[in-house]
């Protein structure tokens, strides 16, 4: 379990695949829920994320209880928090709602998404950032024209986010462009990927942020699949370097190895490239070792 982002409103990143990973964190945060000072504030902030992230590993009824509690906690906090905290809790509530509706059937989810309202209801950067998460998730549940239309809404939210936080907006726009690229083919797809890379180069502030580095790697890797062998090899090298750099942070170590293995496989499959598969084999071993350190079941 790792914390990242804003010091007072950190994001929680869980690396693993077991509900028990959350138990000590849940116990600790519940112990401090009524505490004053930074400890209490941090516990109250983290508990909703712990609940809805853990829900992904629980059976239906327990998962529902966890998600409902996360939403209720955010709603309660939003009602009583100071005005300066409201945008953060609004964003937290939107993400908790998104986590809750994500498990619904597609047909029910459509109505739940509509009930969230519109991003035009929010003006502050944290909430707009959460709305971009919603639009991206929603577009992933749509097909064709409807998916593109939803990505367009995400872009419009980015435009508003850029007024408050231009580097963050550029990062998010790169994510959206990458999703647009997945809906295109051939030259149109390549153009989208080029645009996504250009956007990432403008996010100087986040140049060492692992998620940005992996986004660089993802863009370059996808470009490699559309280029001639020599250019593709160059794109793979660029992607590998960024994926490697992302893995220097322990929270992103496994994601980095997974990405490096995928890129290496693409590189090894390029025509005219002699290779013995040794690098890919080493990466597979490293990935297996890293995964073996994760909890695999209840004690």
């Amino acid at each position: 379990m790792y914390l990242s982002g804003d010091r007072e409103h950190p994001s929680l990143r869980h690396v693993g695949s077991h509900a028990d990973d959350f138990v000590p964190w849940l116990e600790a945060t519940r112990d401090y829920l009524d505490a004053g000072g930074e400890d209490g504030e941090l516990a109250r902030w983290l508990l909703p994320s712990l609940l809805y992230q853990r829900a992904a590993f629980l059976d239906r009824d327990d998962a529902t209880d966890h998600r409902d509690e996360a939403v209720a906690l955010c709603q309660a906090a939003l009602e009583r928090c100071p005005v300066t905290e409201r945008p953060w809790w609004r964003a937290h509530l939107l993400r908790a709602e998104l986590a809750r509706l994500s498990r619904q059937s597609g047909a029910s989810r459509l109505f739940a998404l509509r009930e969230l309202g519109r991003d035009s209801d929010d003006d502050h950067a944290p909430a707009l950032d959460a709305w971009i998460d919603i639009h991206l998730a929603w577009s992933g549940w749509l097909v064709g024209v409807a998916a593109r239309a939803r990505l367009q809404l995400a872009e419009e939210a980015c435009t508003r986010l850029a007024l408050a936080d231009p580097p963050r907006a550029a990062h998010r726009r790169a994510e959206i462009t990458l999703r647009h690229a997945a809906l295109e083919k051939g030259d149109a797809r390549l153009a989208r990927l080029d645009h996504a890379l250009a956007l990432l180069h403008t996010t100087d502030r986040d140049v060492e942020d692992p998620s940005t580095l992996l986004l660089f790697a993802e863009c370059a890797h996808q470009r490699a699949g559309l280029l001639a062998p020599d250019e593709a090899a160059e794109a793979c090298s660029f992607a590998l370097a960024h994926a490697f750099a992302a893995g220097q942070h322990p929270a992103w170590h496994i994601a980095s190895l997974e990405m490096r293995l995928a890129i290496q496989s693409t590189h090894d499959d390029l025509s005219g490239r002699a290779h013995d598969g040794a690098i890919a084999a080493t990466l597979r071993r490293e990935l297996a070792d890293a995964r073996s350190l994760l909890r695999t079941g209840s004690a």
Partner: protein, 236 residues
């Protein structure tokens, strides 16, 4: 006149339904699970949105009509064509019970030409999709198996003008090839959609599976020039 004992309304996933006495798969599913063929609406939730016009062939007691009516919203419309008398009445009852003002019910059979269709000892008026003269059509959902060739034969102008997505349940071994060929002949690409009939996350939370191992054999089709593709599904 006979009258069966009055039963309470059924609470289904997308609204209430008049009591159902029959034992077709749809009827058993609605009674036990409060839903029917939910995986179909799962897929369609990715393509249906506000303002869309939908035609549904076969009422299925309004099981999907209730969802479609909400999905297309006040600016859209759902036309449901049900040729059988009693299912038609049930459909109308459920439409009224749920106050679905954007649903239009039609007691008719849609085929290649006008006329009379004989169904289970009753007759139904036969008309064509083109004669509905819809201002738009985004989705043609066919719940009755083995009707596609005739239906599409009377839909030339509608398909040409609106190029709706087509979602249909195939008739089975004897007719599947003919049905798929009929859709392809209209300039469509066709993908297979074979969800399990049982939904473990059904509305009633019922664990018992009365459709063990059973899959629906359905298709979803998009006009070749629409650019729409269904990744992860087998193209036929």
């Amino acid at each position: 006149m006979t009258r069966t004992k009055t039963s309470p309304l059924l609470t289904t996933r997308y609204g209430v339904a008049a009591p159902i006495a029959g034992d077709t798969p749809a009827e058993r599913s609605l009674q036990l699970y409060g839903e029917w063929a939910e995986h179909e609406t799962d897929l369609l939730s990715g393509v249906v949105t506000d303002g869309h016009y939908v035609v549904e062939i076969g009422g299925d007691h309004g099981a999907h009509t209730l969802w479609l009516a909400r999905a297309v919203g006040d600016t859209g419309a759902v036309h449901v064509v049900e040729p059988r008398r009693l299912p038609f009445q049930q459909l109308c009852a459920n439409t009224a019970l749920n106050q679905l003002v954007n649903v239009h019910t039609h007691h008719a059979w849609l085929g290649a030409s006008d006329g009379i269709e004989s169904l289970d000892g009753e007759v139904a008026r036969r008309t064509t999709l083109d004669q509905l003269q819809l201002p738009a059509l985004h989705l043609l959902k066919v719940n009755i198996p083995d009707v596609l060739p005739g239906l599409l034969g009377g839909a030339t102008a509608t398909l040409r003008d609106h190029r709706p997505l087509i979602y249909a349940r195939l008739g089975g071994l004897a007719s599947a090839e003919r049905e798929v060929d009929a859709v392809k002949a209209c300039g469509y690409r066709v993908w297979s959609h074979t969800p399990s009939v049982f939904n473990p996350e059904n509305h009633a939370g019922t664990a018992r599976n009365i459709f063990p191992g059973l899959l629906s054999c359905n298709i979803i089709a998009a006009h070749a020039e629409s650019g729409m593709e269904f990744e992860g599904m087998a193209e036929l």
